[in-house]
Amino acid sequence: MNNNHIIGVFDDEDTLMEAVHEVKKNGFEIGEIYTPYPVHEVIEAMGKKSRFTLAAFIYGFLGAAGVLAFMYYTAVIDWPVNYGGKPTNAFPSFIVVTIVITILTVTLASLFTFSVRAQIYPGKAYILPDARSTDDKFVMIFDKALSGNKTGELEGILKEKGAVEVYEKELKPQK
């Protein structure tokens, strides 16, 4: 399979975004965009939506409910002990533990969710079209097969919109 891609390298966020809008207007499909830091406009422009916050909320809710239920079970049902005359269901003192474990649950569960959804795991082979996107460059890639015979037009648009470099490359997973 031909895995050739067209790669546009940009100097900053603004020129990148102009190019993204121009390319989309002309009907090209963007393969992927690599940026040195998260750029929310990119996610929006590529039409991607994240339900990550909802997932985090559900983890937090389940975590809090689970911890409270566990403490209620241990302190009230299974092994009631009288601490200084306080009721066995010492609810205010459960809250601190609940907050801490809820945070831990959300953090770990979010991490695993992200890893699964993004298919990232230790030792995975990765694709890095242009190593400079880990430094200070913004990199946009297009599948050459999808742009068909309009490759020249695409390269023209990228150059016109301020790409510092446009080239073609066959992408291979790296270890």
Binding site: H40, E44, T53, P92
Partner: protein, 387 residues
């Protein structure tokens, strides 16, 4: 661009009518029930003072962090700070009602109580008022400096006044941390003279910042609905509600910490405070307080569909002003009156003080252009965009 606002006749008459109606109730209640009247005076004056102090802290934070997004709205907290001198005058009136409100001012209480005797080098009437005057002088000087720097920036432009505002704000925050802590110890905590809590001042300071910020947001929204602040967009609303959301968590943290440690420690001299506040009708207030000040903002400002919605944020801000009243009611009334009361006196006092606060804030708002002219970050504020 001239953005000066003019106060409508209707607004001025409403405010004056509120002050007049309030004044009538206030005068009547001082004749009929002096103790209740003094408690109400302390509650309402402290409440609106705390909103003004919270607003001054809000703007000081904006200066120190060199925030761009909020620079368009800086006149609103500045205008709210104008209440501080009036609060000072009303607070000084407390001199005539000390015996009705503060148990430790009674000679016979002092004579037979070693704990009050032990505290008397600090808690005595002359020193109480010396401190009060010093606090108000500090706040008046600092807020005036911040306000004047802002007005001078309008007239002259340049970076000089922007930098000066930042320096004044640093001094103001430092002074506020000390003075407002002692002020809340003096005016509120000494109502229960045998009880003490070291987190008390922090909780009250955060409450002032929390509810002051909510009031800033409410005033901005009201002005927006009147056709001002046309550049107010979803991003501003998101940042405003983030402020309220963050502060509701901090408030809940401190309020709950104070309660939980006392409840868990279960030492008689500490638990008497909450034991007293769990008697008869007061217990409802304890729960409603957490519900309004923590639960409602937390739940309703969490999803982005709600916290960018002007009407949701407006409702929450109005509820939070009621929440600050309730929080102070819980702190002041059980100590002074021993049983829950709420009637025409409480409503009259609140309306009177709310009218005064509205009138002073609006006058201060109208005295300068609503949108600052030469703030270096003004353009960023007008174009503010976040995700």
């Amino acid at each position: 661009m001239d953005t000066k606002i003019t106060l409508s006749k209707g607004f001025q008459y409403t405010a004056i009518a509120m002050i007049t109606a309030g004044a009538a109730v206030i005068i009547y209640s001082f004749i009929a029930e002096p103790a209740r009247a003094w408690a109400n005076l302390l509650l309402n004056n402290y409440m609106f003072l705390s909103l003004a102090i919270g607003a001054s802290f809000f703007i000081a934070i904006q200066h120190i962090s060199q925030s761009g997004w909020s620079s368009m709205f800086k006149r609103v907290p500045e205008a709210m700070m104008a209440y501080i001198p009036y609060a000072g005058i009303i607070m000084l009136l407390l001199y005539f009602g000390m015996h009705s409100v503060y148990h430790w001012t009674h000679e016979e209480a002092l004579a037979g109580d070693t704990l009050i005797q032990h505290k008397s080098p600090y808690l005595n009437i002359p020193f109480f008022f010396i401190r009060m005057v010093l606090f108000f002088i500090a706040w008046m000087v600092m807020t005036r400096l911040i306000r004047n720097a802002s007005l001078a920036e309008d007239a002259q432009g340049g970076m000089l006044w922007f930098e000066k505002s930042e320096i004044y704000s640093k001094i103001h925050i430092f002074l506020l941390a000390v003075t407002f802590s002692f002020a809340s110890f003096d005016w509120i905590m000494s109502l229960d003279v045998h009880w003490f809590s070291t987190i008390f001042s922090l909780k009250n300071f955060v409450a002032a910042f929390f509810h002051g910020s909510a009031t800033v947001v409410l005033v901005v929204i009201l002005l927006h609905e009147k056709g001002h602040f046309k550049a107010l967009n979803k991003s501003h609303m998101l940042d405003f509600s983030r402020y309220i959301f963050m502060l509701c968590i901090v408030w809940g943290y401190f309020a709950f910490s104070q309660f939980m440690l006392i409840w868990y420690g279960n030492i008689p001299e500490e638990t008497e405070y909450f034991a007293h506040r769990w008697h008869s009708g007061f217990k409802v207030i304890f729960y409603v307080n957490f519900f309004i000040n923590w639960f409602l903002p937390f739940v309703f400002l969490l999803p982005q569909v709600l916290n960018k919605n002007i009407r949701v944020v407006k409702t929450i801000a109005i509820l939070l002003i009621a929440g600050q009243y309730l929080d102070l009611y819980e702190q002041i009334f059980p100590a002074v009156l021993h049983h829950p009361v709420f009637g025409i006196t409480e409503i009259g006092f609140f309306i009177g003080f709310a009218g005064l606060f509205m009138f002073i804030t609006a006058k201060a708002l109208a005295s300068a252009p609503l949108i600052p002219r030469n703030h270096p970050y003004l353009e960023e504020s007008l174009q503010h965009h976040v995700h």
